[in-house]
Symmetry: C2
Subunit: 459 residues, 2 copies
């Protein structure tokens, strides 16, 4: 008895630099593409909606980038987050594998999203931004950004997809507690919203419309900037705090993972967890390391998508990014892991999949919730449905290790707690939950809508 | 910049003993009274529904009681909990006071309730209990006990007040994820429930009926025991882990509180936070220490109640306890802090108020939510409405210190997070929240229903 459960760090051990994997890529990323102008996007294009420092990070190839003191101080509200040995789960699985998880659910917004929200709020504050607009679906990003803006004294405006606004009023209330203005999108606050409503007053909204509204809001207000919670390189950069801390903690435990698992929506959680370990692989020190992105069967862009230029949003408003995508017009089935219902994967993650430096795995919804309930019962903590995708893969790998009689070290990221997701658990426990197969026909259709880009020639 | 925010302890610093304030009381507690038998309750009476070790703790006057290794190991899922310097709140209040808070919201069930749930599950397991029945209102206790029972392999049955069962389905789902059976009370599982339903099929339930059902369940099943989440001495004992950790953490910071604040429902949270400090006062080392129990104006038993024998439940089923009470038939108004809507206060807390060793303070609901929102905006963490009662008093004391130009050290307990309570925040932010005055007429009526007890003569 009296075993160590959590590996904790002191506040002074919060990393002082983020890790930028662009320094270690086998070849440079292809740049975003401005389809309207018919040319690669320039830093100037990006500075219309992001502060200069963020744009610098977006394109930087410096390996380590200093974390400002103010950001580290704000991180201290909940960081360093615990690294936990899942001994209860190991015992239940009767596996020789060692399973560790990083618990990002202890953040005030309940998920890893705060790691980038705070950094973005800081750089905006430093650049004189008075107002930040963003969009949110399920609300994790919106609530993380609302809290960060409140801390740095910036006005926060969130366009929330109307169907979520109405079905998930609690996330809306959380953003409002943090002082944000939350509008159901389509709204009457923008030309985009008004046009949609004029055509269809009952329109339930989409992430695409909400992005368009947020960007229009930015262009219509002085000292206003836009903020995004995933996909882009600077977001992945900020999230590496997760993996960098985990590395220090595993070092204390005298361990190093054979397998790193995280779920993948836009890619911020996976990047943040895995990149600091993938660095060791890219630099040749850990050639056998496996980093696995867990995807839902309803939306498996890495496993089933194409590696092409595509828009970041459903309506084709953003620059096009070279990434694995199911097509920007693809609408995945209504799985409960709202954070994973995104058609594309971050360009960085996509490039690493293309280079076979990382891999992906697909899981179905019921198997995910079975893993979630097992985890709650053996480790005490209720996981977010998104995070449970990683738990499922970690469990499967631990069972494989048992079959093979091998001791493996598995690390996964518990990206958020599930206290906001109990209706999904209710759906599962009452036997009503559906599985979703990969919708190949819908994807085929969506892939016909990819934008025309010829970046190789023009850039 | 780069200040310390949280004071963290290692797992090995989790206290090895709980503190039992019965060792330091100015005079012994008056015993529970068995009104049916017309005599003080005996340990035998209690052992019908509690395991022997718990009954021993209930009456023990030993100052320190060992925490079993198995309990300390289970605590490691989230303990030691952080002690946090509320520098953001201090700055907002512009106060010379130092404000610290202990964050119990990081537990898997989201509140301090797990501290006793795990201990009770352990002692029951050791005694061969196969099934534990309990009641729950808002659901904090039920979910903490469900998780603890799952960890120790005991069946858990929760009778949940029907109106909460229907209005708070999420807490029910959480208990079910942890493997508990949850019945809406009145249920058809007990004679009590069936009788109530026969008379009134639409009965919405009450904590009194739910307690009766849980106890009947225990008496009707082999190897079954009952479990309570507050009020009793052994629950207060287990909760002292909060104050004992906080003491170690403040020592690291080189500090000691002038004022300790916690909210008071049945008393478990207040006892756990304050008693380890009140010990120093009772033993003469810290005569000036102030320990303040924060009560809602809708249910201020310490501030406005009488110190008399009264039943623990609304229907007069339990032994009578000598305590501050508003009368067991008193139904407080519908404040959002469901955990504070209890008519009585723990006998230990009551005795200490009677001896003027601790004090109470009354706050109104809107002022509480104003404090809650201020706290969320300055410290990032969303508090449970119960905990926000303590925040309100801590803020008021910090403002008093400012007026007086005195530097004071204030410690309060953040007993739970508010992610389950966003509908209450929504109610506040939309301007619909009501205040509740002290309902003196209803109390006067309830006080006429106190049981007849003459313990002094008979004991």
């Amino acid at each position: 008895m009296s075993k160590t459960k959590k590996i904790l760090l002191d506040e002074k051990d919060i990393p002082k630099q983020w890790y930028n994997i662009q320094a270690d890529l086998p070849e440079p990323l292809e740049p975003p593409y401005n389809t309207r102008a018919g040319r690669p996007a320039t830093p100037d294009d990006l500075e219309a909606i992001f502060p200069k420092e963020i744009v610098k990070q977006e394109v930087s190839t410096e390996r380590f980038i200093d974390i400002p003191d103010e950001v580290r101080d704000a991180y201290k509200i909940w960081r360093p987050s615990p690294l936990v040995r899942a001994a209860g789960l190991e015992k239940f699985l009767d596996t020789p594998a060692k399973i560790y998880f990083k618990n990002e659910g202890v953040s005030p917004s309940g998920s890893h999203k705060s790691n980038s929200a705070i950094a973005q709020a800081f750089y905006n504050k430093a650049a004189g931004t008075k107002r930040i607009a963003t969009e949110t679906g399920a609300g994790q990003w919106g609530s993380a950004l609302a809290m960060a803006c409140e801390m740095f004294g910036i006005e926060c405006v969130v366009y929330m997809v109307k169907v979520s606004f109405e079905q998930k009023p609690y996330r809306k209330s959380l953003m409002q507690v943090y002082g944000a203005q939350v509008f159901a999108s389509p709204s009457d606050k923008t030309e985009t919203g008004r046009q949609v409503l004029a055509k269809d007053p009952d329109n339930e909204g989409s992430l695409g419309i909400a992005i368009s509204e947020a960007i229009e809001d930015v262009l219509n207000h002085k000292n206003a900037k836009y903020s995004l919670g995933s996909v882009l390189n600077h977001v992945a950069l900020h999230q590496t705090i997760i993996g960098l801390e985990a590395k220090k903690q595993l070092e204390i435990a005298g361990d190093y993972p054979d397998i790193v698992v995280a779920c993948l929506g836009g890619g911020s959680n996976f990047s943040g967890t895995a990149f600091p370990f993938v660095m060791d692989k890219l630099q040749g020190r850990k050639p056998a390391l496996r980093a696995i992105a867990a995807e839902p069967s309803a939306c498996p862009k890495l496993s089933k998508g194409v590696f092409e230029y595509d828009f970041g949003d459903n309506s084709g408003f953003t620059p096009a990014l070279k990434m694995y995508t199911l097509g920007h017009t693809f609408m995945p089935g209504g799985i409960h892991a709202g954070g994973l219902r995104y058609h594309g994967a971050s360009p960085l993650v996509s490039a690493l999949v293309k280079h076979k430096a990382i891999e992906s795995a697909v899981v179905k919804q019921r198997a995910v919730f079975e893993a979630a309930v097992t985890f709650a019962r053996t480790e005490g903590i209720l996981p977010a449905p998104e995070s449970a995708h990683a738990i499922r893969i970690a469990m499967d790998e631990a069972l494989k290790a048992k079959e093979e009689g091998k001791s493996k070290t598995i690390l996964f990221n518990l990206s958020g707690h599930g206290h906001f997701d109990l209706s999904a658990y209710d759906n599962y426990l009452s036997g009503k939950m559906e599985d979703y197969d990969y919708p190949s026909d819908k994807v085929k259709e969506a892939l016909c809508q990819l934008p025309k880009v010829n970046s190789r020639v023009e850039s």
